[in-house]
Symmetry: C2
Subunit: 201 residues, 2 copies
């Protein structure tokens, strides 16, 4: 696994969305492959005692403003979806169901789901929205939707989330390079330095 950049995120995380727009290029520039890993941020919050940023007085207002200026700066499509935040379980389960089949299609699905939620404000918990996200990628919703409500799909996401917690994932986005963890979309420069081998630290 030394040739990878592991990218942990939750589909309801704006900073996860911003990082998702950079993750693949970041890895490729370093001759690595980005491995995408959605997890349940709520499980991390339970562990750390944190609440969603948007729900925190002061920080909520700061972040709503910050997301907007960050999107403008990155030329990234942006709306603050309603409802927000959400428990993006279905999208995450769909990701792993696809990932077992083809990690490239799983990534394309993740990008399309992020875009649907934060680029267009569509509620990606809804079956018809997930179907609309999946279809243009050649994914059959009539296969995907029943599959992701199976106990196996639910367990898979739980297992991946447990693994993330064990590995020290403490927020979204979170990157792991050769065992070294980096939290936050503001740390892409540090991930880059680490991958380049500039490690006096």
């Amino acid at each position: 696994m030394t040739d990878t950049l592991e990218f942990y995120f939750d589909f309801t995380s704006p900073y996860g969305y911003f990082a998702s727009l950079r993750a693949d290029a970041l890895a490729e520039d370093a001759g690595r492959r980005a491995v995408w890993r959605p997890f349940m941020l709520g499980a991390v919050f339970k562990e750390t005692g944190n609440a969603p940023l948007a729900d925190q007085p002061l920080k909520g207002d700061y972040c709503r403003h910050d997301w907007q200026r960050m999107a403008k700066m990155m030329d990234a499509p942006w709306v603050l979806p309603e409802p927000f935040p959400i428990a993006a379980l279905a999208a995450s389960r769909a990701f792993y169901w696809l990932d077992d089949w083809d990690s490239g299609i799983a990534k394309d699905f993740a990008k399309a789901a992020f875009h649907a939620y934060f680029g267009e404000g569509r509620d990606i918990r809804e079956a018809d929205v997930l179907a609309a996200v999946a279809e243009p990628l050649g994914i059959d919703p009539d296969q995907m939707l029943p599959a992701i409500s199976e106990p196996a799909a639910k367990q898979r996401l739980k297992d991946e989330t447990d693994k993330a917690l064990e590995r020290g994932v403490c927020g979204s986005p979170f990157f792991i390079v050769d065992g070294e963890g980096f939290w936050g979309s503001d740390r892409l420069w540090m991930v880059k330095k680490w991958m380049a081998g500039n490690r006096r630290w």
Copy 2:
């Protein structure tokens, strides 16, 4: 006030310490003057519902590691002080007492206090430590120490903290440029861009 970069911090904040090593140069490079403003981070936590990073499961471990690698990367002196975190009221009150007299000396004191705490692990709540920090700067501890236990000095820090909260300061460090706020030592690049006038956002 358009020629300033306001730098809000708490003396017990490691990321505030790291930012303090850059704040003046960042402002000067943009033809501005950094205005330092310590505040009580505890009052912000009360508002946002946050706990100190070090006390949070998962995030505490992450941050302890991150502070160390950040210090190595910046070639900054670093020890995790014991006790940590602290209520750095005395140092903050001393800062404002000095600031009313000479903002340059107040900054020198702040830098020395940060260094004593995070560079050498000395407990800057202690009167003898504060005296040892102040004396080499030509500050008379026999004047300073009684002054900062006066009700006026306590009220001043409370007022500055209230003002910070009103202005949306939601963590340490926090920068304000012409009314625009930036939270975190990871956002110096954004502060720089804003000051340079690259504001498509």
